[in-house]
Amino acid sequence: MAQLSYREAVAAAIAQEMRRDPNVLFLGEDVAVAGGVFKATVGLLEEFGPLRVRDTPISEQAILGAAMGAAMTGLKPIAEIMFSDFFAVCWDTVVNEIAKARYMSNGQHECPLVIRSANGGGARFGAQHSQSIENWAMAVPGIKVVAPSNAADVKGLLAASIQDPDPVLFFEQKSMYGTKCAVPEGDYVIPLGQANISREGSDVTVVALAAMVPKALKAAKILQEKHGVSCEVIDPRCLVPLDTKSILESVSKTGRLVTVEENPRLCGWGAEIASIVGEECFWNLDSPITRITTPHIPLASVDVLEDLMIPSVDRIVSVVSEMD
């Protein structure tokens, strides 16, 4: 297997699907000629040409509207929203149009489209370019939500998202674009809605997403070595559909749950998982469920402050090691 970076895996998945299906198109700001501001789509214009890979004006509502109209009429568009923070300027198209079209039309409309976007902090870009908004997406009925934590998952999950008959918001964690791992060559698809048990363990279940997964894994190692605590780390990979089965099974075994979210605290996806586990695994819980999140504060820009806010390996270690 080749070592690919997270950003290369994005281009690889799109290329794989564009080769397979001529109805897959790709549009966004600076995505074609420049290959994207994160260089995640380099080479696509060259391979698939300007009719399938298109630069747009700075018009997020037009980009997503165009993607929706194309999806409703037989195509499978992929749209890029450069930073996930910018979903706020086109949220209506996502939540009121794309998410509701099938239901409101009594099943007539199809919206098989993918919206990719760079999510999260760590780049010192400040509060308007660093948000983790996977919880905004999860709160909206009618869209699937994917957030991969490594290059292999990027390839397999992005391919699955493009093939999916429903609209998918695909969150790429911008702090991970440079990270590499072994990625299967050739066609590769990971079904949506299957969590990954990133590490097995018996004392406590740690559910982490995207950039929080490698942190949770590092913390798990330290917890094992220094504190003798055995962590099972679960990466849900998708928030919708959510693999509650894997999570509930794990907590039934460990009796403890910690969630690690990059999004700010209130109404984060960790709350949802906590409420499901708290309701359905109540009698198996040995200890209160604890959530580790970014505080409910806009993100600071400068490294020293941003690092205090986004959950860190240390924080995970200290929270887990202090659990009852």
């Binding site: 298109r54 194309a70 409703m72 009429t73 149009e97 239901y103 039309s105 009594n106 099943g107 919708v240």
Partner: protein, 345 residues
């Protein structure tokens, strides 16, 4: 508060490039008459408390939909607003299904899941009624992009109101469509009011769409939206341009709504004389009937349409009324392509 829109501002004819034979003229009249009767019925049903939720009527605006309906190809796409019964009907959406939806019956076009504001029939190219102002304008561009990519020479037609010209998506969609030369026709139905506010009070230019066409490199087109023939000819020209790779068209059609904005709105914010002028002197349906008669049309043909229309609407009403409410279980279906609503395993 009412903005004055004088007749003289709007073009009342075109170059006659698309001549209308009698069949087409009767088609135009019939479409208008049926739209009128359908909506008058919707209004009456509302007054009888048989309409659930809200409803927005396009009485007085029938010529625009009729002109386009008569000009469009079967496989073209229509996008319209909540005030969309005319536009759906002229594409062939069933009257029973429209009235059924308004009344919340199982026979309704969306079985009550969408309601009056969201009538859709993709089998007729009626690609939906949209209730967030401006949202459908980029979506229509997307359907046009799809047609362009697939090389089908289909066009998308997008209807919207005067008030919609002041929201951001109007601007984004038109620039986008112009740059990509998309086969889409944007039709502003300037009925001179947003909900209760006169468009002139909140708009920087007198003609909210036509005066802005230049921003997108497009010609300014301002037409009499109450003249079905003008609308037909305008539609034909725009559709031809779209199909031949000429890119988008922006049309402003001046018109008026006879009733209030929605539901029981009595429309009291409009001067009485203004309403009277449009209802009595500029009503597109009787005016077109009179015009045809004056031009020598055999009255019996028009009378036959009128009679048939009444019958159709009565029949549709009865059909709709005889249908019960939708079954409970459909509340929980069709969120996803698999027909279900599950978000977890």
């Amino acid at each position: 508060m009412g903005t004055k829109v004088t007749k003289s501002k709007a073009k009342t004819g075109s170059a006659g490039k698309y001549p209308l034979n009698e069949t087409k003229q009767l088609e135009l009249y019939q479409k208008m008459a049926e739209c009128r009767a359908l909506q008058q019925r919707a209004h009456d049903l509302f007054m009888q408390n048989l309409v659930k939720g809200t409803t927005h009527l396009g009485l007085g605006q029938e010529a625009i939909a009729a002109g386009f309906g008569a000009a469009m190809r079967e496989d073209d796409y229509t996008f319209n607003t909540y005030r969309g019964h005319n536009h759906n009907y002229v594409r062939g959406v069933s009257m029973t299904a429209i009235l059924g939806e308004l009344m919340g019956r199982d026979i309704g076009q969306l079985r009550g899941k969408g309601g009056s504001m969201h009538i859709t029939d993709t089998t007729k190219g009626a690609m939906g009624s949209y209730a967030i102002i401006g949202a459908h304008m980029p979506i229509a561009a997307g359907a046009a992009w799809s047609a362009q990519y697939r090389g089908t020479e289909q066009a998308a037609v997008c209807f919207f109101g005067d008030g919609t010209t002041n929201i951001g998506t109007f601007h984004e969609a038109l620039n986008f469509a112009a740059v990509w030369k998309l086969p889409v026709v944007y039709v502003c139905e300037n009925n001179q009011y947003m909900e209760y506010t006169a468009i002139g009070d909140v708009t920087a230019v007198p003609n909210p769409a036509a005066d802005r066409a230049a921003s997108y490199g497009l010609p300014s087109i301002l037409v009499d939206g109450n003249d079905a023939e003008v609308m037909y000819e305008t539609a034909m020209a725009a559709l031809e341009k779209a199909r031949s790779g000429g890119g988008p068209t922006l049309i402003e059609a001046v018109t008026y709504r006879h009733y209030g904005h929605s539901r029981a709105d009595p429309g009291k914010y409009r001067p009485d004389e203004e309403v009277a002028e449009w209802k009595n002197n500029r009503d597109p349906v009787p005016n077109y009937r009179n015009k045809l008669l004056a031009a020598g049309m055999d009255e019996s043909k028009l009378a036959a349409i009128d009679a048939n229309t009444e019958e159709m609407v009565d029949k549709a009403t009865e059909e709709a009324k005889s249908s019960g409410p939708p079954p409970d279980e459909i509340a929980f279906t069709d969120v996803w392509a698999d027909g279900g609503a599950a978000w977890r395993n």
